[in-house]
């Protein structure tokens, strides 16, 4: 049986599905019986979710308008 430390060390390989199948099965078996590791992996997934939702500032109005003007100046194909 894998230890929690081993599971934590291979968490990314497990989540990215890059660990070989026997390893993944070992981690999967550990997760079934270990609430701490389950929560740990859930938090890694939640962290990725937070990253995906991390906001970026919109461009300032002048930049935005200049880009739209560039787009508008493009000759139409249709």
């Amino acid at each position: 049986m894998l230890t929690c430390e081993q599971v934590a060390a291979q968490a990314t390989d497990y989540m990215e599905a890059t660990a070989p199948l026997p390893r993944r099965l070992g981690i999967w078996a550990h997760l079934r019986i270990c609430p701490n590791c389950r929560e740990y992996l859930r938090q890694l997934a939640q962290t990725i979710g937070l990253l995906q939702r991390s906001p970026t500032p919109p461009p300032d109005t002048a930049t935005e308008d200049a880009l739209v003007a560039l787009f508008a100046a493009q000759p139409k194909r249709d």
């Binding site: 990314t12 701490n36 590791c37 938090q43 493009q74």
Partner: protein, 204 residues
């Protein structure tokens, strides 16, 4: 291509300025952040983003629609940013960085007992419950700030993989690193970001 992308693309190809404005609003900041992976200099990054938008405008009719719209634009940006970095003599060697960041990173946030069990139980984040949206917003800010403090190669892989959702092969090609480099960097970065989120998530 997703239906939403197809609809946006059709509007863009028809010259719909509102659609282009929306796209710029949604992606400009993300493109600047991506450009920053290759170019430390803010002015260079801004120029490259500008060039990217021009390439998007002129390339709309030749874009195959195979890759999602955002991925297509990201690809243009990455190419231009790399070219610019080489021209400026400032191309970042991510492969060397990856090895350096792996070698001397003393960061080990997780604590284990001698038998390999967690030293402390992993508690769910109180700030992430559906009832606490404000907590959630604070966690977003905390994680976004932590991303900017990561060592450069770790920041780059998290940005490409987790924020932009690029596949591993494209990331390795873009950053010129091996799959093994990518896995190690990603693991360290995510471990670190989770630790930061954990402190915020269980703050009283």
């Amino acid at each position: 291509m997703a239906g939403e992308d197809a609809a946006v693309l059709a509007r863009l190809r028809a010259g719909d300025q509102a659609a282009f404005r929306e796209l710029v609003r949604a992606r400009h900041g993300a493109l600047l952040r991506l450009a920053g992976t290759f170019l430390r200099n803010r002015a260079s990054a801004e120029e490259v983003v500008q060039d990217t938008w021009l390439a998007v405008i002129t390339g709309l009719h030749s874009y195959s629609g195979e890759a999602p719209l955002a991925a297509w634009i990201n690809g243009i940006l990455a190419n231009k940013a790399k070219t610019r970095a080489v021209r400026d003599g400032r191309m970042v060697n991510f492969s060397a960085l990856a090895q350096a960041e792996a070698a001397d990173d003393p960061f080990e946030p997780e604590r284990f007992l001698a038998d390999g069990h967690w030293a402390n139980p992993i508690r769910p984040w109180a700030a992430m419950t559906p009832e606490r949206e404000a907590g959630d917003r604070e966690m977003l800010a905390v994680v976004a700030a932590a991303l900017e403090t990561l060592p450069p190669a770790q920041r780059a892989v998290v940005l490409l993989r987790d924020v932009e959702g690029m596949d591993s092969a494209s990331i390795c090609a873009t950053l010129e690193i091996t799959e093994a480099n990518l896995r190690v960097l990603l693991h360290r970065a995510r471990t670190r970001l989770r630790a930061v989120a954990n402190s915020a998530g269980n703050a009283p």
